[in-house]
Amino acid sequence: MLAALLTMTLLALLIGAALGFAAVKFRVEGDPLVDKIDAILPQTQCGQCGFPGCKPYATAIANGEAEINQCPPGGEEGIRKLADLLGREFKPLNAEHGAEKPKAVAYIDESTCIGCTLCIQACPVDAIVGAAKQMHTIVAPLCTGCELCVAPCPVDCITMETVTDTATTWKWPYPVISIRAAH
C-alpha cells in the first residue's frame, strides 16, 4: 500500500517536473496566430482599420476584437486569406474603413515643399528623406501608399500617384478572357 502510494507520488512529481521544464524550455514567444495574421496583412501601416498599424490589428483579430474585413489595402484577396486561416466566414470589405484602391505611391512636388518635416514624422516606414528646411522626397520603392503623409503637409504638395505597369512588372492576362475577346 505504502509502496504504491510512494510510487504514484514519485511518478507524479517526476512527470510534473518534466512538464514544468518543458513549459519553460519550449515556451513559444509571442502569439503564433498573430504572426500568421500579420503575414497576410499588407504592412502598409496605414491605420485605416482603426488600429495603429498592422500588428495591433492582427492582435485584435486574434483576440476576436476586430472583424477580418477592415483592411482596404489588403482587399478582397486579403479577407479571403484571413477567412481561410481563421475558419471564419468571408465578408465583403467594410466600407467604413475605406475602399480598395490600386497601389499608389506618394509624390512630393519638390518645388512647393517647404521642408517642414511633418510628412517625415508621419511616414510609418521611413520612406521619406529630407531635413528641416531642406527639400523632402519620397523613396518610391519603399513607399507603401498609406497616405498618412498627405494630410499633415501644410502646403498640400504631396499627391498619390497610381503605380502603372512597366514591361517588367506587367502580368500576363488570364487566357480565357483574351480568347473570348478575340472571337
Binding site: L41, Q43, Q45, K55, P124, T168, K171, W172, P175, I179
Partner: protein, 526 residues
C-alpha cells in the same frame, strides 16, 4: 569515333519551314530614318541613359550603362544625333512603353576608337566587366547577360556546349551565321573555353543543317583547333533548349533547382560566341544581330540588323505582303506577338515572323481537358502540364508551383499536341507572372514590416534618450543651485524649490541687466 548521343523526354516534330530563308546570303539593311534603342533589353535593371537629347553619338558609343549585376550596357548602333530619350513602345507582348534612346543616323557610320583586346593578359574580373560594358548577352533568345555566365564555378568546368541547334520552325539566323562566319564562331568559342577553363567544346547542330555542319567542320580543320567537336544532333523540337542540348550531348540531366555548371557544363549560343570574338578581336560592342525574316513575305531571308531598327523596315525589305496582320518576335512555338509593326529590333529578336490570317489562322476554341496525358508525353522537362493547367486555371498557384511550374521553359510542345487545343503555355505564363507579382508584394510587405518595427524602436529609443538627457540636465541644475544657494537651507530640502529659486535668481539677474542697459539707453539721447 562516333559520339554517343542521348535523348531527352518528349519533344515534337513540327514542320520546320527553314529552307526558304536560307536560299540567299545574309543581307544588309539600309539605315532607317530613325533608330529606337530600348535601354532595357535583357533581364536585370534598366540601364541608365548616358546621353541626352541633342547630343551627337558615335557608332559603338555607350548610351546606357549597366545598372545592377544582371544588367548589361547598350550602345549607339550608328553615328548620329540623339533626338530624344523618352518612353517608346517596346517589342513586348504588353505593348507598354519603356525608356528608349531615339537616334537620327547621320549616315557617316563614324566609329568610336576600337582596338583589339589583350584579353589573355586581363584579369578575369576586368574581362567580365569589359564584356558587360560591351553589352554582350545571350543571343539565343533568352538574352541572359554573358558576363554572368563566364565564371567557372567550383571544381572547374568540363564541357562547354555551343548551341547551334536552332530547333524552332522558321528561324535560320544561327544556321546562316554558322555557314558564313564559322571561323569567327569557333574563335569566340575558344575565348569562352579559355575563360571558363573548359576541357572540351561540343558544338551541337541539328542534322537538318548539313551546310552549317560542313562549314563548321571545314573551319575547324582549317584552324586546327584541339578539343572542339562539331556534333550533329537529331532534329527534334526543342533540342535548342540549353538543358535539352546538354542532355543530348553529355547525358547529364540537370535536376530541378540546379544549374548545369554544378555538373561541369555551360552552354552558349553560336551568335554569342561570334559577338564575343568580335569584341575581343576588334573591340566592337554588340550593335547588331542576324535576324530571320520569314512567314508572310515574298523572299524570306536573314539580315544583319542594327538594334533599334523598326521591324517594319526590315520586313518591307523582304517584301511584306499586304494582308499581314501581325509580327511575331521569335518563332511560332515560343514567339511573342508584337504590339505594332514599328517596334524596334532588340538583342532578343532572332526572328521577325510576319503573320497573316491565312498563315496563322485563329486557334480553335478551347475545349475541356480530357486528361489524355498527351502534353505530359510531349513535355521535354518531364512536367505534367495537365495538372499545372488545372491549378493555374483555378488560380491555385501554390499547387501549380508544387508541380514545378517554374521548370517550364514555355516551349509550347504541350499546347502543340493538345487535342482540346488548350493554350497551355498562356496559362503557365499567366500563373508565373502572378506568382512573381505575389512574391514581390510579399517581399515589399516584409521589408515594410521591418522598417516599421525599426522606426517604432527608434522612436522609443529617442524618447528614452531625451528623458535621460533631461534627467541629467535637471541633476546638473540642481547641483548648481545647491552650490550657489547654500544660504537657503529650505531649498536643500526640496529640489524643486531650489530649481525655482535658481530660475528666479536668473530672472532677477536678467531684469537687472535689462534695467542697466535701459538706463544706459535712456541716457544716450540726452
Amino acid at each position: 569515333m562516333l559520339r554517343q548521343l542521348f535523348r531527352f523526354h518528349g519533344g515534337v516534330k513540327p514542320a520546320t519551314h527553314k529552307t526558304d530563308s536560307t536560299r540567299l546570303p545574309i543581307g544588309r539593311v539600309p539605315l532607317p530614318a530613325e533608330l529606337i534603342v530600348p535601354l532595357h533589353q535583357n533581364v536585370g535593371g534598366t540601364p541608365y541613359p548616358l546621353v541626352a537629347a541633342g547630343e551627337s553619338v558615335l557608332k559603338g558609343q555607350r548610351i546606357g550603362a549597366a545598372e545592377d549585376p544582371f544588367s548589361s550596357a547598350v550602345h549607339a548602333p550608328t553615328s548620329g544625333r540623339v533626338i530624344a530619350v523618352e518612353p517608346c513602345v517596346l517589342p513586348h507582348s504588353s505593348g507598354l512603353r519603356g525608356l528608349c534612346v531615339r537616334i537620327e543616323p547621320d549616315g557617316a557610320e563614324r566609329w568610336i576608337e576600337t582596338a583589339a583586346l589583350a584579353w589573355r593578359s586581363l584579369d578575369p574580373d576586368e574581362l567580365r566587366d569589359a564584356i558587360r560594358d560591351a553589352g554582350i548577352v545571350g543571343l539565343g533568345g533568352a538574352v541572359f547577360p554573358s558576363h554572368r555566365k563566364l565564371r567557372s564555378g567550383k571544381g572547374g568546368l568540363d564541357t562547354l556546349v555551343i548551341n547551334g541547334a536552332e530547333c524552332e520552325p522558321f528561324i535560320t539566323c544561327d544556321d546562316m551565321q554558322m555557314r558564313e562566319h564559322a571561323a569567327q564562331i569557333l574563335r569566340g568559342a575558344t575565348v569562352i573555353q579559355q575563360m571558363l577553363g573548359a576541357r572540351q567544346v561540343l558544338v551541337g547542330i541539328e542534322d537538318n543543317k548539313p551546310e552549317a555542319i560542313a562549314a563548321m567542320n571545314a573551319a575547324l580543320q582549317a584552324a586546327a583547333l584541339q578539343n572542339i567537336e562539331i556534333v550533329a544532333v537529331p532534329t527534334r523540337y526543342p533540342t535548342g533548349g540549353a538543358k535539352q542540348l546538354i542532355r543530348i550531348l553529355t547525358g547529364i540531366e540537370v535536376p530541378h533547382g540546379k544549374r548545369s555548371t554544378q555538373f561541369g557544363v555551360q552552354c552558349f549560343n553560336t551568335g554569342t560566341a561570334w559577338a564575343i570574338a568580335d569584341f575581343v578581336e576588334n573591340g566592337r560592342p554588340l550593335l547588331s544581330r542576324i535576324v530571320t525574316v520569314a512567314g508572310n513575305v515574298e523572299q524570306p531571308r536573314n539580315y544583319e540588323v542594327l538594334f533599334g531598327t523598326p521591324m517594319s523596315h526590315v520586313a518591307e525589305l523582304a517584301g511584306m505582303q499586304p494582308d499581314t496582320d501581325r509580327f511575331i518576335m521569335g518563332g511560332p512555338m515560343m514567339g511573342f506577338r508584337m504590339p505594332n509593326f514599328d517596334v524596334p529590333v532588340v538583342k532578343a529578336t532572332n526572328c521577325i515572323l510576319v503573320g497573316s490570317p491565312a498563315l496563322f489562322p485563329s486557334p480553335r476554341p478551347e475545349m475541356p481537358c480530357i486528361r489524355c496525358g498527351e502534353c505530359a508525353r510531349a513535355c521535354p522537362t518531364d512536367l505534367q502540364p495537365f495538372e499545372m493547367y488545372w491549378h493555374a486555371r483555378a488560380k491555385n498557384f501554390g499547387k501549380a508551383q508544387e508541380y514545378h511550374l517554374f521548370d517550364c521553359i514555355e516551349c509550347g510542345c504541350c499546347a502543340y499536341v493538345c487535342p482540346s487545343s488548350i493554350p497551355l503555355v498562356d496559362y503557365f505564363r499567366f500563373a508565373k507572372s502572378e506568382v512573381w507579382a505575389r512574391e514581390q508584394q510579399k517581399n515589399a510587405a516584409d521589408s515594410a514590416r521591418v522598417r516599421f518595427d525599426f522606426r517604432n524602436e527608434r522612436i522609443e529609443r529617442e524618447k528614452q534618450e531625451k528623458a535621460e538627457k533631461l534627467a541629467a540636465k535637471t541633476a546638473a541644475a540642481r547641483a548648481a543651485a545647491q552650490s550657489t544657494q547654500e544660504t537657503a537651507p529650505a531649498a536643500e530640502d526640496d529640489p524643486k524649490k531650489a530649481l525655482i529659486a535658481a530660475a528666479m535668481a536668473r530672472a532677477k539677474a536678467q531684469r537687472e541687466a535689462q534695467a542697466q542697459t535701459d538706463a544706459a539707453q535712456d541716457k544716450k539721447p540726452e
